[in-house]
C-alpha cells in the first residue's frame, strides 16, 4: 500500500503523465499558446503561485486534504447516468452523462475552487478575488471562501448581474462582496479586467482565484489540474460500466475548464474522439456568437496567447451567448493547442439548438441541465447521428439548470 492509496487523486492523476505538450513548458507554453502577457508588477505573484502549486501537487498531505473536501464537501465521486430516452434522438448512440451537476453548488466549478482555496491558505493569504460570468464560479468561490474563512470579492459584469440575479443573491448570502462591473461590454471579459486591477493593487494578501483555464501561466495548468478529477473518475467509471472507453467525449467550451477537466484524462487514448462545443449564439452569420476556436484568430487576451474574437486591429469583439458561462471572447490556451494539433475538434451550437437540448433532457430524463452544458448535449445529439447506434458518447453535464430558470421562462414562455 502506498501513501496515496484510497484517495481520488494521486499526484499522477492530478497532472497527467506530462507527455509532450501535455504539460506547459517553463514559460507556460502549450506549443505557441499560453505564456504571460501581464504587467511586470504581477510576475512575482504568478511566480509565487506557480512555485507553491508545484510544492502542493507533490505533497501527499495537500492531496489528502483536497481529497477529503472533494468527498465530504463537494460530493465526489459524481455518478454516471445513462440517458436512453434522450439517446433516441441521437440516432440511438449510447449517451452517458458525467453528473457534475450533482456536486455541491451545482457545477464542476467547485473542484477548482476547493483546490485553489487550499492553495490560498498555503500562500499565507486571507483574501480571494474572482471573476464570474454566469455566477457559478462566483458562487463556488464564495462558498470555498466561507468554508475556509477567507475574505471574498467577486467581480461580475453588470449585464451578467442582471441576468443571473439569483446567483448574486447567493454570493451575498455566502458573505462575499459582489462588485458589478460597468465598463466595456459589462460581461465576463470586463470582470476579468477589473479583477486583474484589484489584484495588482492588493497582491500582498490576495489570491486571484481564477475560474477557467485561460489567463497567464500558471492558471491554465492549475485550473486544469483541479478540474482533472472529472475525467479521471469518468474514465474509470466508463470502463466499469461499459467495459471499454467511450468512442467520444463531449463538453461545452467557454473558457474551457469543464471541457479540459473531462478531456485531459483521455488525451493519450488516441481512439477516443474529443469534441468541444462553443456557443454559436444567434448563428455564425449574425456575428453574435462566442465561437472563439471555430471563428476566432490567434492573439493575446487576458495574459495568454490563444484564439480570440478580435477585429483586424486586435480589438476584442464582444461575444454573445444565451448562456452567460460561455459568453467569453477568449479560450484557454490548451484548447488552442488541442485544436491546432488536431487532438480535439471544436464546433458551434446555436442558442436555439442548446435550448432544444435543454428542454429535451428535462422532458426525457427528468434532468434540468445548465444552458452551458446543454451545448454539449446538443453536440452529442449531432455526434450520435454521425457515429451511429454502436457508438458510446460520454458527455460532461457540467452544471445544473436551476440558475437558468429565468432565461428558460422567457425563452419557452413558461
Amino acid at each position: 500500500m502506498t501513501a496515496t492509496d484510497g484517495i481520488l487523486l494521486t499526484p499522477a492523476d492530478l497532472a497527467g503523465n506530462g507527455v509532450h505538450g501535455d504539460d506547459p513548458d517553463v514559460h507556460g507554453k502549450f506549443g505557441v499558446f499560453g505564456g504571460r502577457y501581464v504587467p511586470e508588477a504581477l510576475i512575482p505573484a504568478l511566480d509565487e503561485v506557480a512555485a507553491e502549486y508545484e510544492k502542493a501537487r507533490n505533497d501527499v498531505a495537500f492531496l489528502r486534504e483536497f481529497d477529503h473536501l472533494l468527498r465530504t464537501y463537494a460530493g465526489r465521486p459524481t455518478t454516471l447516468t445513462e440517458v436512453p430516452r434522450f439517446s433516441e434522438q441521437a440516432g440511438g448512440a449510447r449517451i452517458v452523462l458525467k453528473r457534475e451537476d450533482l456536486t455541491h453548488t451545482g457545477a464542476h466549478k467547485i473542484n477548482n475552487v476547493l483546490g485553489q482555496a487550499l492553495l490560498t491558505k498555503r500562500l499565507g493569504k486571507n483574501r480571494v478575488i474572482a471573476e464570474t460570468g454566469a455566477g457559478q464560479h462566483g458562487v463556488a468561490t464564495a462558498t470555498a471562501a466561507a468554508l475556509m474563512g477567507l475574505e471574498c470579492v467577486i467581480y461580475m459584469g453588470a449585464v451578467d448581474c442582471e441576468r443571473q440575479a439569483l446567483n448574486v443573491a447567493r454570493m451575498k448570502l455566502l458573505g462575499a462582496t459582489v462588485v458589478p462591473v460597468t465598463n466595456g461590454s459589462q460581461t465576463l471579459k470586463d470582470a476579468i479586467n477589473e479583477a486583474f486591477r484589484d489584484w495588482v493593487a492588493n497582491v500582498d494578501r490576495t489570491h486571484y482565484l481564477f475560474g477557467t483555464i485561460a489567463g497567464p501561466h500558471p492558471f491554465p495548468e492549475i485550473v486544469r489540474d483541479f478540474a482533472r478529477i472529472i475525467g479521471v473518475e469518468a474514465r474509470r467509471q466508463m470502463l466499469e460500466l461499459t467495459g471499454r472507453l467511450p468512442d467520444a467525449v463531449a463538453a461545452a467550451v467557454g473558457g474551457g475548464s469543464n471541457a479540459i477537466g473531462i478531456f485531459h484524462a483521455f488525451i493519450e487514448d488516441q481512439d477516443v474522439q474529443l469534441h468541444g462545443y462553443e456557443a454559436g449564439g444567434r448563428g455564425v452569420e449574425t456575428g453574435e456568437h462566442a465561437l472563439t476556436l471555430t471563428e476566432g484568430s490567434i492573439g493575446v487576451l487576458h495574459g495568454s496567447r490563444t484564439y480570440v474574437l478580435q477585429d483586424d486591429e486586435g480589438q476584442t469583439i464582444e461575444s454573445h451567448s444565451i448562456s452567460a458561462g460561455l459568453d467569453y471572447p477568449g479560450v484557454g490556451p490548451e484548447h488552442a493547442w488541442l485544436k491546432d494539433t488536431g487532438r480535439a475538434t471544436y464546433h458551434g451550437i446555436t442558442d436555439a439548438e442548446a435550448m432544444d437540448a435543454f428542454a429535451l433532457l428535462a422532458r426525457t430524463e427528468g434532468i434540468i441541465p445548465a444552458i452551458e452544458s446543454s451545448h454539449a448535449l446538443a453536440g452529442a445529439l449531432k455526434l450520435g447521428r454521425e457515429l451511429g447506434p454502436e457508438a458510446t458518447i460520454l458527455v460532461n453535464l457540467s452544471g445544473r439548470g436551476d440558475k437558468d430558470m429565468g432565461t428558460a421562462m422567457k425563452y419557452f414562455n413558461l
Binding site: E40, R197, G299, E313, Q315
Partner: protein, 264 residues
Amino acid sequence: MTTLQTVFAKAKADDRAALIGYLPAGFPTKDGAIAAATAMVEAGCDVIEIGLPYSDPLMDGPTIQDAVHRSLTNGTRIADVLRTVEGVAKTGAATLVMTYWNPIDRYGAERFARDLAGAGGVGTITPDLTPEESGTWREASAAAGIDTVFLVAPSSPESRIKAVAECCTGFVYAASLMGVTGARESVGEAAEGLVERTRTQTKLPVCVGLGVGTGKQAAEVARYADGVIVGSAFIRRLLDAPDEASGLASVRELGAELAAGVRG
C-alpha cells in the same frame, strides 16, 4: 526628429528631470488629441507618449479607461494613431507609442515598427509585454531603429529588474506603486527605492510613472528620477473642461506647473 537620448542628455545638462506626458490618440477627438499633445509640448513636455486605444486596458484606472473608451467610440484606428504620432513629432518632442501588445501582434510586429518609425515615432512602451515574450518585438524595433521601453514595479526582485532593463533601450519605466494608472494624493513610497534598485542594473535613464499629477509631486520625483511621467492628470483636465478651448488652456496650465516641478 528628437531622440530619447537627446532628450535625456539635454535634461541632464539642464540639471533637471525630463517631463513625459501621456495622451491616448483619438481623445478627446482625433484632431483634438494632436492639439492637446501640442499644448503639452508647448507647456514643457519633452516626450509625448501617444496611447494606442485598446478594448481591454487591464493596467489602466478609470480616467484612462474613460478616455480610451471615448477614443474607440470615435472610431480611432491604428492609422489615426500613426497620424497623431506624425503630428506630435513635428513639434520637436520625442514621440512614443504606449500600447498593450495585442494590437501590434495583430498588425504585425515588423510592419508596426516600420510604420511607427516612418511617422517619426522614436519607440514604444509595452506594459504587458514581458521579457520572455518580447524577442520578436525587440528584433523588429531594432531593425526599424526605434527604442523599446518596458516596466519594472515595486514588486520586482533584482533578477526581474535585470531581465527587464536588458530589454530596454531609451529608458526604463518604473511604476511608482502597485496599482493601475491614475493620479493619487501621493506618489508611492516604493518609487525612490525602485529607482535606486534599477540603477544598480542599468545605465539607462529611469523614469517614474503612475500616480504623479501635480507640480509638487513632479518635483519630489525629479529629485531621484531621470524623468517624470504624467498621464491621467492631463486627461482629467480634458474630461472636466466644458469645451475644447478651455480644455487646452487647462492642459497648458498643468504642463507649466509640472515643467516647473521637474526643474525643482
